[in-house]
Subunit: 214 residues, 2 copies
């Protein structure tokens, strides 16, 4: 077997560890739910992450790479993101899931363009189911309808989430062994600042859709 | 729609809350894993529980019962079981999963006999996949092979798990609104002490298979 593309290994390792950690944190955040129905909903969002983890880990194994080794470079930065954005209550938890899932998906959709099938398809398959975003947005809108001041609090929280994510993304890029940035650059005429602008614009539109201000 | 069988509603509520809580605790216990591979394995065991929860909750909803209401009578006893058996390390966590899953499955197999299809099939469908038990037993046997003293420590831990489970099962029976005990008694010529003896014997055989003493 020829050596696998290091950029692909880096990407799969990053996304796999992101899924493993998202599982862990969503499962913990589910305890913040005000009732068992909502707790089950967040727990199911967590379970979807671990199913996706398995696909990514299996693909790494098929490429001859140990998943643990591929994930190792990203443990610190992803852990730091979650440690610095621990939700204090249920609304912060669903807002974090809403914001984080969407930004992750937008990034993955962009980067999938630079991959060959079947890895492009694998990355598209681990995007989040839209019913989770709909659930989270409905929770946020209902809370804002009940108390309009909630919009301000969650808007500030969402800004902090994006700020922490960008700061940790910067750390990932700085620690990158060349693979991930190569993968972004591989796409025809990609402009990294334009990519970030697209991600930011999409985030802003989603915040408005959930009743938050920017 | 005619009123659903209260014994069935009780059983589905008990098992559903058991799954929801097992998800929560297994997801937390996964943090005790010595590496990411093992952490992912326990996280996947957790994810299977929440998938089963969904089937049970959907069945309750189809029967016209709110899952939260059906689960409410069992929250305290199941929570108390988990609070009193919080694993201190990875081996305690896998032992708890191994013991708890098997005893639960044995009990459900017994009680499924008293149900009509499709509920009998539903209960059989939420039994644990045997690969999880194989994973846990392999972890226990490897640890015992590396240090034979581990067998004593895990044997004591397993006895404590069963003791706590029986004590909380007694609380469930005492708090039962008549449904669950009726369901056990419904089976032809059932003898509750014989049922407990069968469950205990099967547990003893499993402990031996995993390298523990009794």
């Amino acid at each position: 077997m020829s050596a696998p593309d290091p950029a692909l290994v880096d990407l799969l390792g990053l996304v796999a560890y992101g899924e493993l950690l998202a599982f862990d944190r969503l499962a913990a955040d589910a305890r913040l739910a005000p009732d068992l129905r909502r707790r089950a909903a967040l727990s199911e969002m967590a379970a979807a992450e671990i199913a996706h983890y398995r696909w990514l880990a299996d693909r790494l194994t098929a490429l001859g790479v140990t998943p643990d080794e591929a994930m190792a470079p990203y443990v610190e930065a992803l852990q730091a993101y979650h440690d610095s954005t621990e939700p204090k209550d249920w609304l912060e938890a669903v807002t974090k899931a809403y914001v984080g899932d969407a930004v992750t998906d937008d990034f993955l959709r962009e980067i999938a363009d630079g991959l060959d099938a079947p890895d492009r398809q694998l990355i598209l398959d681990v995007l989040h189911d839209s019913r989770y975003a709909e659930f989270a947005a409905a929770e946020m809108r209902a809370a804002i309808a009940a108390d309009p001041r909630v919009a301000n609090r969650l808007s500030m929280w969402a800004r902090r989430l994006v700020g922490e994510a960008l700061s940790q993304a910067g750390r990932v890029a700085a620690a990158d062994r060349g693979g991930l940035t190569a993968l972004v650059a591989r796409r025809d005429g990609v402009d990294v600042s334009a990519l970030f602008r697209r991600l930011t614009d999409a985030h802003t539109a989603r915040m408005t859709a959930a009743g938050l201000n920017n």
